[in-house]
Symmetry: C2
Subunit: 253 residues, 2 copies
């Protein structure tokens, strides 16, 4: 991180669109979970099947909360035009009569790791720490301003690069997973579209510098929520740790 020299007179100045974008990307550089050791092991092919199962099973809890999170955001907007756009996110994850949504596609990935879909969908073996981190995301979108709730989705600014890399590396190191990558395939174009809308929204609706700072803080907090999920996985399943009673146990292979 470069140390920024702050001109006190500038502290109240509204950031331009480029400055806001730069500040958000700076947060991503520092805190987005592409840097997390669990992802690094994954991309180097150093996770075994049990660890990938633990990842798919725990992250399913996150996936299952995303449409609920987006429904909370929907419920907080007074603007039909905003709601019409945001509704797409719920559909993207829940699917409709003709198309599978992200939740089903994530289950397909879990099945490709060798887990039973029903077992994953029951969510009984999720680590408590995963639950707490993900539930904090719901707290955030419920309890802060709508501006901050929208801003917390801005991790999607960074997800395209991570997903591209991940798909390449998963295919290379875990070819037996290749049939389960539809989720990521879809996110490759969904996430950037969504991020663009959310970025424009926060730029247009943060009317003061301090609101812009709240936007940046919300993104930082969301990065921490993603990071904590990987910490939980790493410590329970990579470094000899202890999944708590009742949580998913890796079977000896």
């Amino acid at each position: 991180m470069a140390i920024r020299t702050v001109d006190p007179a500038a502290e109240d100045q509204l950031l331009s669109v480029e400055e806001l974008r730069a500040r958000l990307w700076e947060v991503g550089e520092e805190r987005y979970h592409h840097r997390h050791p669990f992802h690094q092991l994954m991309h180097e092919g150093r996770l075994d099947r049990g660890q990938l199962q633990a990842w798919a099973l725990n992250r399913y809890y996150y996936q299952s909360r995303i449409p609920i999170k987006d429904a909370i955001i929907l419920s907080r907007s007074e603007d039909p035009a905003f709601r019409r756009v945001w509704l797409k996110r719920v559909l993207d994850h829940d699917g409709d009569a003709t198309t599978d949504g992200g939740i089903k596609r994530w289950l397909k990935l879990a099945v490709a790791t060798g887990l039973d879909a029903d077992r994953v969908a029951r969510r009984e073996e999720v680590l408590p720490a995963t639950r707490y981190a993900v539930n904090e995301y719901l707290n955030l979108v419920k309890n802060r301003t709508l501006l901050e709730a929208v801003a917390s989705s801005l991790t999607e600014l960074f997800s395209r690069d991570l997903i591209s890399l991940r798909m390449e590396r998963l295919r290379e190191h875990y070819p037996w997973l290749s049939g389960g990558l539809d989720y990521f395939e879809e996110r490759l174009h969904q996430a950037p579209e969504d991020a663009q809308f959310a970025f424009n929204y926060v730029f247009q609706h943060a009317h003061t510098r301090s609101e812009q700072e709240l936007v940046i803080q919300a993104l930082r907090d969301k990065c921490d929520i993603l990071w904590a999920q990987l910490d939980a996985l790493y410590f329970a399943y990579v470094q000899p740790g202890w999944p708590p009673p009742g949580a998913f146990q890796v079977e000896a292979s």
Copy 2:
């Protein structure tokens, strides 16, 4: 854990007061944080000053949320008699004009570890995973029934033994901490009184077996919340892990 043979006919039967107590103690035996490796290291004198600082600083976040948690429970009761009793918990932690409360006493402990009280009270260096686990306690008392909210306090059934042992071991292994133990001294008699009231309450207000099972589950969930806080500490500060950006860093001693 003993394996219980369940008589299907008995599954709907209301537990007697002794049976309910036994089931709750069974949860404590299995899941209460007296078993957690972080506490075990503490009691064996194997934590260093920095690790005790990390503990005091992170647990301060928990302490600071307790009166808020109890105020939520207060706000959910329709019964003035219940509220009169429960109010004592808020006072115990917040203090009044003449007496320090538990929060101040916890700060005294933090100071005894060598930390500045203001730094701890700012809560800026708390691990995100600590925050998420503690906030889940607030979610629990907000979103479940009042019966379950009260039941989640029943970890106090087990705290007396743990606190007695801890005070003895802290005095033995970390004599420089001895001046900071007022918090525990007070809890030695507060916790059992509170636990007795809460136990009577849940026994009297769980009118069906399935309500009794909800009580037991709420205690289990509360144990997980305590456990997760120590996991976070252990993995960030004991086993060479990585406190996330911005969290408390142990200084080289």
